[in-house]
Symmetry: C2
Subunit: 223 residues, 2 copies
């Protein structure tokens, strides 16, 4: 958001930076320099010779969370009325960082659970909703859930992350069976005791090359 007073930029890049906070998806917002309690998605205009994704990554650095664990373009928006930049089109990038990541630039950037997101500039509200949809839709093809977790995690934490993203409860035994046949995780020899109850073994994400399984024709879930 460096040269907001410069002449009309060719396009802008909006960053939808997501993490998990207290069992909720949360998005990083930036305090607007205009109104005191106005917030917006972090954004900027590209620098000369910079690719769009490079711009998005640069914004994550500005925000102070470093390299995101996952990033993907999440659409271009040009129809809604007002965007903080004066550009005709904004390219959205959705990015994920592990839960627990804090922005060092505390007064300016803050996580907002999705339920508590304040009013955003019109185009950005649409952009945010679209990015959430993209991330949720990528779950089947991309290890999205793992990118929201720290490097080592318990299977219960992983299951809760899936439940959060899917918006429904999963059965423990079914979840673990599916996980096992997908060869996605590998146990470590560390355990974590979370107060009461039996300690849980820690796992790490470690996908193995496998048969190109994919059986079934998923005509359901269409409709």
């Amino acid at each position: 958001m460096s040269d907001r007073r410069a002449r009309k930029p060719p396009y802008s890049v909006d960053l939808i930076l997501l993490t998990a906070v207290g069992g909720q998806l949360a998005v990083m917002l930036a305090r607007s320099s205009e109104g005191r309690e106005k917030w917006m998605l972090p954004w900027d205009v590209p620098r000369a010779g910079e690719t769009m994704e490079a711009s998005a990554l640069r914004i994550t650095k500005t925000v102070g969370v470093g390299e995101p664990a996952w990033i993907e373009q999440a659409g271009a928006y040009g129809d809604a009325k007002r965007h903080p930049s004066d550009s005709d089109v904004s390219v959205a990038y959705a990015a994920l960082v592990a839960m627990g990541t804090q922005s060092p630039v505390g007064g300016v950037y803050a996580w907002f659970p999705l339920a508590d997101v304040p009013l955003l500039p019109p185009r950005q509200k649409q952009t945010l909703d679209g990015a959430i949809t993209v991330v949720r839709g990528r779950m089947d093809q991309s290890p999205v859930a793992f990118k929201l977790l720290p490097q080592m995690f318990t299977l219960t934490e992983l299951q809760q992350m899936y439940e959060l993203l899917l918006g429904k409860r999963l059965h423990k035994a079914s979840f673990r069976r599916a996980l096992q046949s997908a060869w996605l995780v590998e146990p470590t020899d560390e355990w974590r005791s979370e107060g009461r109850g039996r300690p849980a073994q820690l796992y790490r994400y470690s996908p193995r090359k496998r048969r190109p399984a994919q059986r079934g024709i998923r005509l359901d879930l269409l409709n």
Copy 2:
């Protein structure tokens, strides 16, 4: 592609118009006014006050195929070097029309089976590949296959369309069982005799509201 000599436009809209021709996916290309045998994706720059999707739909009209059966944004591209327009960013729209649709503007526009696509401007090649991926990926969530078929079709035709999009053979009985439990088609009382063999009943796409089925956790197909 109207004002290609005007001053630098804010962005351009590329259209990836797809159909099925002879058991192959095919894309509509436009003959370049420069070199004789140079082809490119149909594109244009937006008019004042026009939304991006409206621009894309206007391009389909220019091409002469009318309203597409399906259209969806398929990414924004800005990093590759040359695009016919001078814009910094191109927004891609993937659109489908029923097989058999011909463009009345014959000398300028033509279908190219994906295997025979000629060399395109660098950014457009990338755009095309991305759009194909988007369409294939939407199959589970959107009735993509139906949009490539005429309003009435035989179940064998529908199965062949799925086989084309999935790139693999399907078993007849399994396919029909899946189709039945998805409540997506409805039989008409018409039949079509295709030369030899028993005539096939014609069906139409007619999705019914259903239980939010979606069982299973698809952790496979990740990897």
